[in-house]
């Protein structure tokens, strides 16, 4: 039996509602998925939740210093950033001062024991950067006291 135009319209409305429901479910599912990725613990819905948004401009250089790592700006900077700050902090690089031979030996040690990859042509770029910007200084057998902050000592 052919449906009357009234019944036909009802069917269409039913299909429409179903389509809306499906669309809503889809949007909800996508939303849920996004939450899984960005906030797996759904902490937004918990009490005491505080959002900390940390935005780091990784390229910014100010007064000759690469801000996000503290490295001195110079030839090879980004090669050093990209190869030497994945496992350990840039702070570990900056506080060490070595000759080219000892940097090469250190790289070899990191490759043998610490899962550092082969650096290829970048090795020379990296070592040149380090030796130029962080050269060893001869401090003798004992350095004098430096950077003394003077203050009055009360009785």
């Amino acid at each position: 039996m052919k449906p009357s135009s009234n019944e036909y319209q009802q069917l269409i409305r039913k299909a429409e509602r179903l389509a809306y429901l499906a669309l809503f479910a889809l949007v909800f599912a996508i939303g849920l998925l996004y939450f899984r990725v960005y906030d797996p613990a759904f902490s937004v819905f918990k009490e005491n939740a505080k959002e900390l948004v940390v935005s780091i401009d990784e390229d910014k250089i100010e007064n000759g210093i690469h801000l996000s790592t503290g490295f001195i700006d110079g030839v090879g900077l980004m090669t050093v950033v990209n190869n030497c700050t994945n496992c350990h902090s840039s702070k570990l690089v900056i506080q060490n001062r070595m000759s080219a031979d000892r940097w090469n030996a250190t790289i070899k040690w990191m490759q043998e024991t610490q899962n550092l990859w082969q650096l290829g042509d970048n090795q020379k770029v990296i070592v040149d950067y380090l030796v130029k910007n962080y050269p060893p200084m001869d401090t003798g057998r004992r350095e004098g006291l430096r950077n003394i902050t003077w203050y009055e000592l009360k009785d």
């Binding site: 902490s43 005491n48 959002e51 900390l52 935005s55 506080q95 057998r141 006291l145 203050y151």
Partner: protein, 406 residues
Amino acid sequence: MERRKFIKKTTLASFATLLGAEIVFGTNMLKEYQPLALQKSDPFKLFGLDTEMVVLNDTPWNIEAKAHLLDDKITPNSKMFIRNNGKIPVDIDAKTWTLTIDGESVKDKKTFSINDLQTKFKQHTYQLTLECGGNGRSEFNPPAKGNQWTIGAVSCATWTGVRLKDVLAAVGVKNDAVYIGFHAADTHLSGDPSKEPISRGAPMHKALQEETLIAYKMNGKNIPLAHGFPLRLVAGGWPASVSGKWINRISVRNIEHDGTKMKGTAYRVPKNPVAPGEIVKDEDMKIIESMPVKSLITYPKSGAILKKEQLLSIRGHAWAGEFEVSKMDYSIDFGGTWNTCKIEKPVNRLAWQHFSADIQFPKSGYYEVWARATDSEGKSQPMLVPGWNPKGYLNNACHRIAVKIQ
């Protein structure tokens, strides 16, 4: 390079829990974000540190004190150096934590919960000096590789736990035991799960000392997370790397333990003295055991300006690895003459000792007060940086402070 944005959503309450290490972790933590936060957050808040502490490295965390911060007789958590080799473990649950004693030289492998340790064995508390083998590294010339510690990688807190010797006796150790080696829950910086950041240990004679503890408390509270919660091996007087943090296994070995940082140049010095900068073969290196005699002037802070005739009362601590400090001197004329300080006996073996002296300066001008400890074996601290070694260990040169008399 691509710019990244880190969005960290975190409940502060759960971090507070983490820091104090007072409550069992893991219930309210946001797993995906915690490691990042732990490695990159403000360490002063994260670890409850004094704001004058110095961060040498943030991946992994390496943080040292300054001399004047170490003035307390018992080092509080806020002024205690942190030396980590890997990433701090996450999701620690002290209730389910276990310690397994295994290895070639145990009769039967055994596993203990923390409750087992606390109920089956007698509890002991000792104040124990822990100094990083590389403390003072920054003074070596040519520079040695690694974290450039100045003087602040030393602490003397009280540690409470059970004697390792009691636990080993309960497990049963064979006659061929040579060494113990610890294994722990921290993770390697590279993220490689097959690598241990550090797995060191000590020969049996050190393992069996009364003061060698499997500790679960520091200064009367649960051990802070950065210092090894919930279990730490504590072996005072030896390089602090022997005192493994977050330990879950101790192996009794029939060979010298061969874990990470036991071999090569790690925590080793040349068997024979070498010239500065000399290349030393691995087989010519030996493991550091007892730390050398050393002292710190913790009061006043360097840079004190005094009025003429004003008496200066100095104080500080001295320690000598396995030995005791028997004599303490100070000099205000760069070692031309030495005067005796009062030195107290240690509260127990392997605890640092407190010294003090009152100094009257003869005339106005710039002075340095140098402190020199001598141990019960007759060895004194050198005024110059001692024997160069490839990794820059064992610098026990005299500490000194600057003083001006108006």
